[in-house]
């Protein structure tokens, strides 16, 4: 199971690399623009400038556009969203205009129009538009999420939390939403609640190292002996799930061990922990030797300080 998680992370990294390569290539007129746009859509990557530039170039080129046939509408949608991200509201309005002529009365277009209100900062109009869509389809996930986004954009974090909690009651399996909630709790320094979110995520998807890492960090921030010991366990499980490649987890184990030994000074020290700490320290040193030899001295000093403290 751990191997599958590592493999999945590897392909995700490959995709990201391919996305950047295509972006460079297409940006310099080397072709591959459509492939880039499809990949960006698949990965849901947020790269508004290149998408806008390349997408517009394709759309304005009528022969290229007719070659796309039915796919051109998805491209219009993608370009509209990118335009809103770049604050090119004129372009967005044009794209939405074209789409609404092609698909009159569509809820998907309605969402885009409401998004345009959001981009202009007209929150009341946007909320009204979303409420209308929800009347027809009360389980439209995307619209629910936009309502949360509006609350966040207005800086009303407690409202965003309230909406997000209501959303999660309906859509308990939406992992991205749990992550978003955890992040908002962390930004509000409500660490216990954030820890709860990460616990849900780990229960649902125990092989994703990201959740273990985030959970460990929240526990470390909360502090206290028990939390530190649990944090160290989760840093360790992150290391196992990533095959020892995650530098932050290695650092985390060292930090936890140092903090724990400071708290348990004078009490009976656990013997099993020292092996974990020395292994992590060694792995960290090796990592730096390979990837950043100039900084190795820093790490050696830091580890020395930790073992002493």
């Amino acid at each position: 199971m751990a191997a599958a998680a590592v493999a999945a992370m590897a392909t995700a990294a490959d995709d990201e690399a391919r996305l950047l390569r295509l972006e460079e290539q297409a940006g310099h007129g080397g072709g591959g623009a459509w492939e880039y746009l499809c990949l960006a859509r698949k990965l849901r990557a947020r790269r508004p400038d290149p998408v806008l530039r390349l997408g517009l170039a394709l759309l304005n080129n009528s022969s290229a556009r007719s070659r796309l046939a039915s796919e051109q509408w998805t491209l219009y949608e993608q370009v509209a969203v990118a335009a809103m991200d770049c604050h090119r509201l004129d372009v967005a309005k044009d794209c939405i205009g074209v789409l609404s002529k092609q698909f009159p009365g569509s809820a998907r277009i309605g969402r885009l129009e409401a998004l345009l209100f959001e981009a202009k900062g007209e929150w009341a109009d946007a909320e009204r538009a979303y409420a209308l869509i929800l009347e027809n389809n009360p389980f439209d996930q995307i619209v629910h999420k936009r309502k949360i986004a509006i609350a966040k954009a207005q800086g009303d974090m407690s409202l965003a939390v309230e909406y997000l909690n209501k959303y999660l009651e309906l859509f308990m399996a939406d992992h991205d939403a749990w992550r978003e909630l955890a992040e908002i709790y962390v930004s509000l320094q409500m660490y216990k609640q954030a820890a709860f979110c990460y616990e849900e995520l780990i229960l649902a998807q125990p092989t994703i190292p990201l959740y273990h890492l985030a959970y460990a960090e929240v526990l470390y921030t909360m502090g206290g002996l028990e939390n530190l010991q649990t944090a160290r366990k989760y840093y360790a499980s992150t290391i196992k799930l990533t095959g020892g490649k995650n530098t932050r987890a290695l650092f985390g184990v060292c930090l936890c061990s140092a903090a724990i030994s400071q708290l348990t000074k004078g009490r009976n020290k656990e013997e099993e922990s020292s092996e974990l700490q020395s292994l992590a320290a060694e792995a960290l040193l090796n990592d730096y030797k390979q990837r950043a030899p100039s900084k190795e001295v820093l790490i050696t000093n830091m580890l020395k300080n930790m073992k002493l403290s």
Binding site: G155, A182, E183, S187, Q189, E217, Y220, G252, L298, M302
Partner: protein, 158 residues
């Protein structure tokens, strides 16, 4: 502890922090500034800020302890060899009109203050940053709270 304190921001440091904020327009960014106390006896006291170390642009890493601890330790060690120390912390908010200093920035500021009594926290003014990009406004883009005697971060003009 005099209230007068001048900070000289080197161009490299200023440019790095502005570029860091511009590179991640949708997220909050933060980082450390390193420098040295130029002359403790003169009044106003002058602190020279020599370089900037961008820390992160992930909104969920900002208030978490382990990365900050590590960063402070490693940066201190690295620049300590050159006789520099961490003197400031800079922060840019994700929301454009948010001009408040978030709690985490105050905490990091307090931490730096324990080490360096002339610490300051710089909050980037997003509106000014946008104008600077458009070439309209040449004013510096930072707001500049300093530690007052009552341990609160108050704002002062740049």
């Amino acid at each position: 502890m005099g209230a007068e304190c001048q900070y000289e921001l080197a161009q490299a440091a200023y440019v790095k922090l502005a570029l860091h904020a511009l590179k991640h327009p949708a997220a909050a960014v933060n980082g450390l500034l390193v420098g040295r106390l130029l002359d403790g006896a003169s009044s106003p006291v002058v602190v020279a800020v020599v370089d900037a170390v961008p820390l992160s642009h992930c909104p969920h890493h900002l208030p978490l302890l382990p990365t900050h601890e590590l960063a402070l330790n490693l940066v201190e060690d690295h620049f300590g060899a050159q006789g520099l120390t961490v003197v400031c912390y800079y922060h840019a908010n994700a929301l454009r009109d948010d001009a408040d200093l978030p709690a985490v920035a105050k905490r990091v500021g307090d931490h730096i203050f324990r080490n360096f009594p002339r610490a300051a926290v710089l909050l980037l003014n997003n509106n000014k940053l946008e104008e600077a990009v458009k070439g309209k406004n040449r004013e510096p883009v930072v707001q500049h709270p300093i530690l007052s005697n009552s341990s609160k971060w108050i704002s002062s003009t740049v």
